[in-house]
Amino acid sequence: MLVIFSFNSFAQTNNQKFQTGVKKGLDMLIAAQSSEDFLKTSNYFERVAQAETKEWLPPYYAAYGNLLAGLMINDKAIQDQYFDKALLEIDQANLLSAENSEIYALKGYIQFMKMSVDPQARLSFMAASATSLGKAKTLDPENPRIYLINGQNTFYTPEAFGGGKIKAKPILENAVAKFAIFRPASEIAPTWGSERAKALLAQCN
């Protein structure tokens, strides 16, 4: 009887363990300031990912951590390696959860940053990013991160290539509006981006 009961409680705590585990990582993410902090967060999510082989959130957050770690680094060669790792991890997340708007949105973000490392040689990443974001939009048009990333890509694309502040503004306004009504699927589902959208929008004026 004891054995059965403790087994039962084990199963329960396992799910709880996952929830608390991811939450702990999300706290690290919120507290992260430097490239190193984001790397450590990413490392943490990689550890969770290898223990929870059926969950898409750990590789998703690991990818997000590597992306941000890369964004805060100046050395392009190293930056590129972080982005490559982020791409591998987001593809891993995609294997675990197909047709997921959040995954395609983040993938579009990473692809755009891959392009930015060497724009002249990597224009194809720009189109790939647009394709991923398009897919994310078909899967869930209410996902505010799509509009944030799209607005951000537009913001940083030279006007000559169809970007610029003027074009980014309505997209970011839309993002801010979508963030206002967005309710995450669970406590640990992606919620990031609202502040970023507001900050970028403020720069458009």
């Binding site: 403790s6 223990a51 060497d118 002249q120 189109a127 890509n153 970007g163």
Partner: protein, 702 residues
């Protein structure tokens, strides 16, 4: 109630007895350097930590027994140790091996031109070609700015390291392309037929290339087509010389592209004075179809077919009879089909198969003589590649070409037909990450020549620093004589031996290389009063410098190339060993590109210099001892990016020789030597303007 109490008691007790093990230690690279931000993971648990800036780590776990502790870090090979978790403290001193970093791994590089971001085998991209001033988006013209290649405007093709144009062969997805150039006017170079935008990369080898490539004595231009386009788009180009439209249709795993183009140089020739007086300025109509299918995660099928029809007629001055200009007309039809399939059979084996067909037909009048000429090539090829070790591979394959020419003059016909069959095997053996050895061989049998050949090829690369490498290559190269000689009689293979030594430094935004070479030519075709033999010989030696920098100037990219060439040969109708007319001793190019964000414009400039070329002066005592003046050319290009009807548009302008240097390629003497005529570019200056619109791509973001 009782049960619950009991359980909570149990949990309480269990928690108390849970043994905590503290694991601490330090992680260093195999060279003893501390590794920061590495991930230390107790496998299948959440437990673990990241190393600090000094490579130290410490964490606690409640797990017990034998567990795997995994450690990983960027640029290192993931590794693990087994730990026995008991109460107390475990201290570990861990070592981690650097992973294979392709950027820092040695590569086969001698003879190859490597630019771009330093990745393997690279290349001038389509964009690089289109934005090179003076090239007018022509694949071949852009290569002429690279070290090893000569500038040329009086004959089509690439003249590499003392070799004639026929010694450079073009390969389209690994398949030999016999007639890559547009219909030609005597003494004028013409553009390549294929658009630069068909290709994701062009890799130019000035010698020492792989055993996969045969029938090229001096150089290989390797063109690799793009994969699936991202989306359905329509491209429209309106140029001062014609117009074209391309429709891309993207399906889930495949894509179809249909294109048509019409070019007519008449309006341009009215504005820009030409050397020849045209009766019919070049007019070309062409169409193409392309289908690509991603057959699996790793498989790709490609099919490409194009048809082109060109008409030209003109009068050109005849030096022997200046009062009576010579009439010349040419109607050309060119068909090219290329289809390839590649698939990984498993982790270790890759299969590549291909089929290609090329037919090039000319007919017209030369003075009053009616001529026709038909060149054809059909090729089948299969290659198997085996990957072993971390980086090494072994490939072998076979190919067969049916090639030949038929021609006629006033109804009198002649021709020849040859079946060349070849087998090749080659291995890239990475002895370490710093040392690679390529060993290869190729054998060919020509049914027309009734002869075999065996060509050994070898190349060696040694990494001398994180970014630097020394390379050496030796190879023997065979090629059948040119069609114009083979049609007269059977000859032997022409032979070239290449010896190449190279030093290079490749960084993310900067490249430097210096390469020296010696080439020994044997069995070149010599012609004595219309009777060709294989008794020609020659040599070429020289060195080349190349420097590219994308870093120093913001949004700017420039490269400088310099080639020194010392060559002599006794071939064709030469009476003695002499430097041929296509070989300039010094050639230098400066190519500069700058994107100006404010006006959304990319500007580019190319300056080319070549020292005087030899020409035959029958009044001189020594054959080919006269030299033309130096060649100078400054070309500019401007691409303005904008939107028309909300569609992404490029406004394009290219001006060649803007300062109007008087360039002379050589001289043609009258039979008695009393008169001469300068061989000049088709026009002193040249200007092309155009508008390129992409519909369906109105913004790069959705």
């Amino acid at each position: 109630m009782k049960i619950l109490k009991l359980t909570s008691l149990f949990i309480f007790v269990f928690t108390l007895t849970q043994a905590q093990t503290k694991i601490s230690g330090i992680l260093k690279s195999s060279k003893g350097i501390r590794v920061a931000n590495a991930n230390i993971t107790l496998k299948n648990t959440y437990d673990g930590t990241s190393t600090d800036s000094l490579g130290r780590f410490v964490f606690s776990t409640t797990e017990t027994g034998l567990k795997t502790l995994q450690f990983s870090a960027l640029s290192f090979e993931t590794d693990s140790v087994t730990v026995d978790l008991k109460k107390g403290v475990i201290t570990l001193d861990l070592r981690i091996k650097p992973s294979v970093n392709l950027l820092e791994t040695v590569s086969i590089s001698a003879g190859y031109f490597i630019a771009g971001d330093g990745k393997k085998g690279a290349v001038l991209s389509a964009l690089d070609i289109a934005t090179t001033a003076g090239s007018n988006a022509d694949v071949f013209a852009a290569q002429q700015t690279l070290p090893g290649a000569q500038t040329s405007f009086s004959e089509s093709g690439l003249f590499v390291r003392g070799g004639s144009a026929s010694e450079t062969k073009t390969y389209f997805d690994g398949m030999l392309l016999k007639s890559p150039f547009n219909a030609t006017v005597p003494d004028q170079a013409s553009r390549g037929r294929l658009s630069a935008f068909l290709f994701k990369g062009t890799s130019f080898s000035a010698g020492g290339y792989s055993a996969q490539y045969g029938q090229a004595l001096s150089s290989a231009l390797i063109l690799e087509t793009t994969d699936l386009p991202e989306k359905t788009t329509t491209g429209i180009s309106v140029l001062s010389v014609g117009a074209g439209v391309d429709q891309n249709i993207r399906f889930k795993n495949s894509a179809l592209t249909i294109g048509a183009a019409y070019y007519n140089l008449k309006p341009t020739y009215r504005l820009i004075k030409q050397q020849n007086s045209y009766v019919k300025a070049p007019e070309q109509l062409s169409g193409s179809i392309q289908y690509k299918h991603k057959t699996s995660e790793t498989g790709m099928f490609k099919f490409y077919a194009t048809y082109g029809k060109t008409e030209i007629s003109l009068y050109r001055d005849d030096i022997n009879e200046p009062a009576v200009p010579q009439y010349f007309s040419n109607n050309n039809i060119n068909i090219y089909i290329n289809s390839t399939y590649k698939e990984y059979l498993n982790d270790k084996w890759k299969l590549d198969v291909g089929f290609a067909y090329n037919k090039d037909s000319d007919e017209g009048l030369f003075s009053t003589d009616n001529y026709t000429r038909n060149d054809a090539l059909t090729e089948g090829k299969a290659t198997l590649t085996n990957y072993f070790g971390q980086l090494s591979n072994f490939k072998f394959g076979a190919e067969t070409f049916n090639t030949g020419r038929t021609e006629s003059l006033n109804g009198q016909e002649r021709g020849y037909d040859d079946q060349i069959s070849a087998g090749f095997a080659e291995t890239d053996l990475f002895l370490t990450e710093k040392l690679v050895l390529r060993l290869g061989a190729r054998t060919e049998y020509s049914s027309y020549l009734e002869k075999y050949n065996l060509a050994p090829r070898t190349s060696l690369g040694l990494k001398t620093g994180i970014n630097s490498q020394v390379s050496f290559a030796y190879g023997r190269f065979y090629q059948n004589a040119e069609d114009e000689y083979l049609i007269i009689k059977r000859l032997d293979f022409e032979i070239a031996d290449h010896y190449i030594l190279k030093y290079e430094i490749n960084m993310h935004d900067r490249n430097f290389r210096i390469e020296g070479y010696y080439k020994d030519y044997n069995h070149l075709t010599k012609e004595n009063l219309g009777n060709p033999t294989n008794t020609g010989t020659g040599y070429a030696s020289g060195f080349e410098l190349f420097l590219r920098d994308k870093k120093t100037i913001k949004n700017g990219d420039f490269y400088i190339s310099y080639s020194f060439l010392d060559t002599k040969r006794n071939f064709r109708d030469f009476p003695t060993l002499a430097t041929p007319s296509f070989a300039a001793k010094h050639t230098a190019s400066v190519v500069y590109k700058q994107f100006i964000e404010k006006i959304q414009t990319q500007v580019g400039a190319t300056y080319t210099f070549a020292s005087g070329r030899p020409y035959v002066n029958p009044n001189s005592a020594v054959y080919l001892s006269d030299r033309t003046n130096n060649f100078n050319s400054l070309s500019l290009t401007v691409s303005h990016l904008t939107h028309i009807f909300k569609q992404f548009t490029v406004l394009y302008l290219n001006a060649n020789n803007v300062t109007g240097f008087n360039n002379v390629y050589g001289y043609q003497y009258s039979s008695d030597g009393s008169n001469r005529r300068a061989i000049l570019p088709s026009s002193k200056r040249n200007l092309v303007v155009g508008l390129l619109v992409t519909i369906g791509d109105n913004t790069f973001v959705i």
